[in-house]
């Protein structure tokens, strides 16, 4: 009785083992597995993998872009700083240049003035020399005239010359003292 109940619980054992069902079940499951692998699971897993890669790529790219943006920002900041410095330097240079030019202009003006003054002085000197020479000549001829008038007959030509020269010396001394 107990034996029979146990068999009944196993269900199949009551009818004997049905080998055909076992083979059929095995075959069907293997066929199902093969078909699903080919037509459903493989494509599905491919797309899941593809998505995984896609997401990973996107994350990588986002990270790369972020770094690039950061780099660009840094570069821009650097450029900004540089251009500001350059502008500062330009202004500084211009100021320096202007200062220099001013100095130059003032210096050249001063030099020009000096030169003009110098020329004028020289001119004056020259004029003075000329005037002195002319005066000397006149004095000489006048004194010769006077002398010849005073001592017309007593003096030889030689004595006369000596006398004139003494006069001229006197005149020169007077001129040099002045």
């Amino acid at each position: 009785m107990l034996w029979k109940a146990n068999l009944w619980a196993l269900g199949e054992a009551a009818h004997g083992i049905s080998g055909g069902t076992i083979i059929y079940q095995l075959l069907m499951f293997i066929i199902l597995l093969a078909l699903l692998r080919k037509f459903a699971w493989q494509p599905l897993m491919n797309i899941m993998k593809q998505r995984e890669e896609h997401i990973a790529n996107e994350i990588d790219q986002a990270e790369k872009r972020r770094q690039e943006a950061e780099k660009l920002l840094e570069e821009q900041r650097e450029l900004m700083k540089q251009s500001r410095q350059e502008a500062q330097a330009l202004i500084e240079n211009a100021r320096k240049l202007a200062e220099e030019q001013k100095e130059q202009i003032v210096a050249s003006a001063r030099a020009e003035a000096e030169r003009v003054k110098e020329t004028a002085k020289k001119e004056i000197e020259r004029e003075k020399e000329q005037a002195m020479a002319a005066l000397r000549e006149q004095v000489a001829s006048l004194s010769v005239l006077i002398a010849s008038k005073v001592i017309e007959k007593e003096l030889t030509e030689q004595d006369q010359r000596k006398l004139i020269e003494a006069y001229i010396k006197d005149v020169q001394e007077v001129g040099g003292a002045r």
């Binding site: 049905s18 055909g20 095995l26 699903l36 692998r37 459903a40 699971w41 599905l44 897993m45 896609h54």
Partner: protein, 237 residues
């Protein structure tokens, strides 16, 4: 409550026609669901594809909880097919059963010990196959004497116990569910209005519970498959 099964002898083998019918129907349903879900695959999944991917993630979780993905990844399709097959098979017997001339035709294929034990033996055979394939024959054999040699007889018994419990657990749960459903149905149809009213509520409750049991059993079957598999293919245990 005992019904005869439609048996046919062919080439010296016994074929249970109702089992074969239900196995075929189960395979068809699983195949149709799977193909329908993966017909138009997109990077951004919608509808059925979402469901199928959820199943994949679920089975991936089962595998990951028993072994590392490096060794377990190859069993993903097996696990998904198993869980879908067992789940659909469990559900088939719930809405109704069909008897023709005292023979039971429409039922869950998993309410037959032959079917469940076939699945169990197949799974255990696969674990041995992969055990030898992935660890080598000597390492596989040495596993029977680990951690200590005198456990060897117990290890041998364990293999048979695993196979039997794996198959009979599933069979018992589903078969018992169907027996009770049948009893409630006959109570509802054979004892007049009172019987019908009295049977209606327990019937609903039991069907709901059977859905739960069927789902859990599908999960347990897949889980144990992966546990046995991990037991055989993992190096660290």
């Amino acid at each position: 409550m005992e019904h005869k099964a439609p048996l046919v002898e062919f080439l010296g083998l016994t074929f249970n026609l109702s089992d074969m019918l239900m196995i075929t129907i189960t395979c068809l349903i699983v195949f149709i669901i799977a193909v329908a879900a993966t017909r138009s695959l997109q990077l951004r999944p919608t509808g059925m594809q979402n469901f199928m991917e959820w199943v994949f993630d679920f089975v991936r979780g089962i595998i990951n909880s028993t072994m590392d993905w490096q060794t377990g990844g190859r069993f993903l399709t097996l696990g998904v097919t198993l869980i879908m097959y067992v789940f659909v098979a469990n559900m088939l017997g719930l809405p109704f059963s069909v008897h023709v001339n005292g023979e039971l035709w429409w039922k869950s294929p998993t309410a037959d010990a032959t079917v469940t034990l076939t699945l169990a033996v197949m799974v255990v055979a696969l674990t041995h196959y992969y055990g030898v394939k992935m660890k080598g024959a000597s390492d596989y054999l040495r596993d029977y004497t680990r951690p200590v040699a005198w456990l060897f007889p117990l290890k041998i018994i364990e293999e048979f116990a695993n196979t039997l419990t794996l198959g009979l657990r599933l069979f018992g749960n589903i078969y018992a569910g169907e027996i009770l459903l049948g009893l409630l149905a006959s109570l509802g149809t054979h004892y007049g209005v009172l019987g019908a009213v009295g049977a209606a509520i327990p019937m609903m409750v039991w069907q709901a519970f059977s859905i739960f049991v069927g789902t859990i059993q599908a999960f347990i079957f897949t889980m144990l498959t992966m546990v046995y598999m991990a037991h055989k293919v993992s190096h660290d245990h």
